[in-house]
Symmetry: C2
Subunit: 228 residues, 2 copies
């Protein structure tokens, strides 16, 4: 990530690049950012993540008016930390289609298009989702091989289980684009297999084709211009 | 929670009470706190959570020397936010059996006994785990009833699936004790059914029998005394 930032440079107005990640929600893949690039964020950074997420969802997920949500410890407006309260006000005033606070429970259920959060909470959320998926899959494996009859049953439902595994597998979603650099950079998981790398290249190609970086620059500079 | 704090009062030296929650790790139930009482924490509060969690794990989980971990965005010491860096130093100097930073992925895998975090990250982590569990269980339900053969298979593995569901069900773990009040208070989920309430009463009874509150007072006052 540091290499990408140094080599490509940042888009004008971007304080710090952010890592985006696609979550397999019940409504299809949805974007969360920052998923771990910046452990300490301020409200202006969260506003930039919202603006960048909005562009990504329009260009890459073909969602014309993305629903922007803020990750908090409850959905009511008064929920959240000092940081999210300040970010809430800024995003609400940004002209984006802001739907307010959402919580961890919503991450895979859906009802949003872009989930905005600081890199600490985003990283904890993402790895908590992975933790539950890994644990349940390993319990399934143990329970479904615990007796001969269960093995027979498991053979009959095998394709269904494979579909679930594929759905929850981050490798299927490819790498996470790095937001805010002046170029295309896709960050992969440290344990990426060849399928993950293939998908990451796919993501990078779509970033280029959709003109994502140009759109990001225009969106962020428009806001920087309005503030100046 | 406010009612409990007002009625029971706080243990001397406790800045703010915290909500604890038991997570179903591969090594058995383990404690995470704060799970949502305090969205904004300072490092002294995280140290108190560590001290209170240590007492709880000794009294209620029968773990003689609990492994205390700090939730961060990676396991290396340099990972984390300004808050966790400061808390890391304080907990490391506290005399507790501190094992350093752990990440979201470890929450259900285990390798720790008490996971210390601020209420914002803790709440997001807990609800992210629930989000993944709910989503996988609903995918399982759909996939396992998608055809006649799958229904037959599902019937054969039914008991195994029920075991997994029970393992992931917060209702089985009862309520989360409120840490730091001068008395026993167990916080239940808003959607608790009768089994959850029954288990919560069970948790409350064990809190009383084990002399948890007296132990908490002694532990916190010892640290307050050492600092004074």
């Amino acid at each position: 990530m540091t290499a990408a930032t140094l080599l490509l440079g940042r888009i004008r107005g971007v304080a710090r690049p952010a890592i985006g990640t696609l979550l397999p929600t019940a409504e299809g893949p949805r974007l969360m950012l920052d998923a771990g690039a910046n452990a300490d964020c301020d409200a202006d950074m969260l506003l930039q993540f919202a603006l960048m997420g909005d562009v990504y969802a329009r260009c890459m997920l073909d969602l014309p008016q993305p629903r922007i949500a803020l990750l908090a410890n409850g959905t009511e407006e008064h929920k959240g930390s000092a940081l999210t309260h300040e970010a809430f006000a800024k995003i609400a005033a940004s002209g984006l289609h802001f739907i307010g606070n959402r919580e961890g429970r919503d991450l895979l259920l859906g009802g949003y298009d872009v989930m905005v959060t600081d890199g600490m909470s985003g990283n904890i959320a993402l790895k908590s989702l992975e933790s539950a998926a890994t644990r349940i899959m390993s319990m399934l494996k143990r329970e479904l091989t615990a007796s001969l009859w269960r093995k027979v049953g498991a053979a009959l439902v095998k394709q269904g289980l494979a579909r679930i595994k594929r759905m929850m597998d981050y490798q299927e979603y490819g790498g996470a684009p790095l937001f805010g650099v002046r170029g295309v950079s896709v960050v992969c998981h440290g344990s990426s297999g060849e399928r993950a790398i293939f998908r990451a290249l796919d993501v990078a190609a779509k970033c280029l084709e959709s003109g994502l970086v140009g759109e990001l620059s225009r969106s962020l500079e428009a806001v920087a211009g309005a503030e100046a």
